[in-house]
């Protein structure tokens, strides 16, 4: 993995740690309202200023990171497991199973992702769980498609013939021999998807369908800040910058992992 990959991983770990330990690190309670300190610009007391309810923006940005990243990681775990299962079954058994699963995947991929996520999140009461469901329901399809392709090419390899020749059951071949070969690609995809999920989560919360007040998420902070953009422009900078940096690092890391593990893409890249 190149320097960019390593650097991105380092930044991601830093953001993770900062968000995880935010209750200890931040100077103020992220949800405590102080009506004497409304919309103060950045100062020594409040490093990033305060918002329309006098809450410390630095504290809220860190807390928002915990929620945003938590949602994205959970959604990636769910969609990766679903995508791995369906991709494995579809690619390994082929035939009608494959046709049915893949037409469903095509259907999901054909819709504009954000619109689909909005549609799904309206079905449930707004909140953290709803965002996780919406993200996973849209995201599993690209995992399934990628893994299926990988399994199709693995199916032709000699070591699988050997495994079957010595009498391994289908389940054993799938889980002991094929599955581990799919992990690198799945992890590369997970990196890219995490970048995308951070953005989609922010968009859903921005539209008011995701994380609800008083809890902060990066998206909902921008949504509030947008209203006060004339009187307190500093409200929208930190959360937007954090989304951009985190998503960028996940994307770079995903790219680096893919270049490393995807045999079809090495060489001329």
């Amino acid at each position: 993995m190149g320097l960019t990959g390593k650097l991105s991983a380092a930044v991601i770990i830093m953001v993770f740690i900062a968000s995880l330990f935010s209750p200890v690190l931040v100077p103020y309670d992220p949800n405590s309202i102080d009506l004497d300190q409304i919309k103060h610009p950045p100062s020594a007391q409040h490093l990033l200023g305060t918002d329309n309810k006098g809450r410390d923006i630095l504290s809220r940005t860190l807390q928002g990171g915990k929620i945003s990243i938590g949602i994205s990681v959970l959604a990636v775990l769910i969609s990766m497991s679903a995508g791995l299962t369906i991709g494995l079954v579809s690619g390994y058994f082929g035939g009608k199973t494959d046709t049915v699963f893949m037409s469903f995947v095509d259907l999901v991929l054909a819709f504009p992702a954000l619109l689909l996520a909005i549609g799904i999140s309206v079905l449930f009461p707004p909140g953290v769980l709803t965002v996780v469901i919406a993200l996973s329901a849209v995201g599993w399809a690209s995992f399934a498609r990628l893994i299926r392709g990988n399994v199709l090419s693995l199916r032709e390899s000699v070591f699988l013939d050997a495994a079957k020749a010595i009498g391994c059951s289908n389940a054993r071949v799938l889980f002991i021999h094929v599955l581990p070969q799919c992990f690198p690609l799945a992890f590369a995809m997970a990196g890219l998807k995490l970048g995308g999920y951070i953005l989609t989560e922010a968009a859903l919360s921005f539209l008011g369908l995701g994380v609800q007040p008083p809890d902060a998420s990066w998206g909902s902070m921008i949504s509030t800040g947008r209203v006060f953009i004339r009187s307190a422009p500093w409200m929208v900078f930190p959360p937007g910058l954090m989304i951009a940096v985190t998503a960028l690092c996940f994307n770079l890391l995903g790219d680096a992992l893919r270049d490393k593990y995807d045999p079809a893409r090495t060489g001329h890249y």
């Binding site: 619109l115 921005f206 953009i229 929208v236 989304i243």
Partner: protein, 310 residues
Amino acid sequence: MTGYVARKLILLVPLLLGITFITFLLTKALPGEPVYSMVGERASPETIDKLRKEIGSDKGTISQYAGYLNLILHGELGRSYYTNRKVSEEIMIKLPNTMKLAAGAMFIAVPVGILLGFLSAVRKNRFADRLISVLSIAGLSVPVFWSGLMLMLFFSLYLKWLPPSGTGDIRYMVLPAVTLALPSVSSFARITRTAVLETGLMPFVRTATAKGISKTRIYAVHIMKNALLPVVTVVGLDLGSYLNGAVLTETIFGWDGMGRFIMEGIIKRDYPVIMGCIITGTIVFVLINLVVDIAYSFIDPRVRINGTDR
């Protein structure tokens, strides 16, 4: 070719039936009933009953769906529960707005994206390539609603060059079009770079080089023509998602298009609006795919479209 186009258009019918039915069931599954948001929760039971009869929500799901299909067959999409305006007429206002915005964004994204990707491929692994690659990943990582706000903050509120929001002439269009174009520029640049590099490895490029054709001509004519195919696919995909509503961009800049229309419909549970937008969106999507397919056959004669080939 005509046969192929006709067949694709006929396939629209079952597709629309399927999609409207699924959407119909989904809207039924939405929590909350539109009647309550129309009259408020304190309305008398009689008013509510009367209104239910009026919009037909007292009947069973299947007969409601049949009624809706009947309406569509008469060229209608129903009326909005809130404004009581015809959905078809509203869409006739919003769709052109969205098309204008999409055209503006593509006008920026296509040339800039292809040029950057091409430059990146020609200068592979040099400084320019590295810079463009990182910038294009960055372009895909910045949330559009934030970049939109930043542009608004700088050009409208600080420099006061452009109006911050609203629908109107070209001055109103610049900021939303640029915002919408940013992620597309990045993805076009990435896909062009890949395509140019992959085409560069083809035997016909080696032949052309051996024949003594200049490097400029090889890149500009031989490689570019062959590399355009995947680019056209991505342009079509992005155009499809623009026309289905750039929800975020339209929300931020107060652009009166399809994205804001469907978003408001979803939030207010305005079923006729949601259904109308989805039907329009599906038709637009299929038409764009059709145009992309036809564009393929013009760019690459190997892709033949006719009655027997597909």
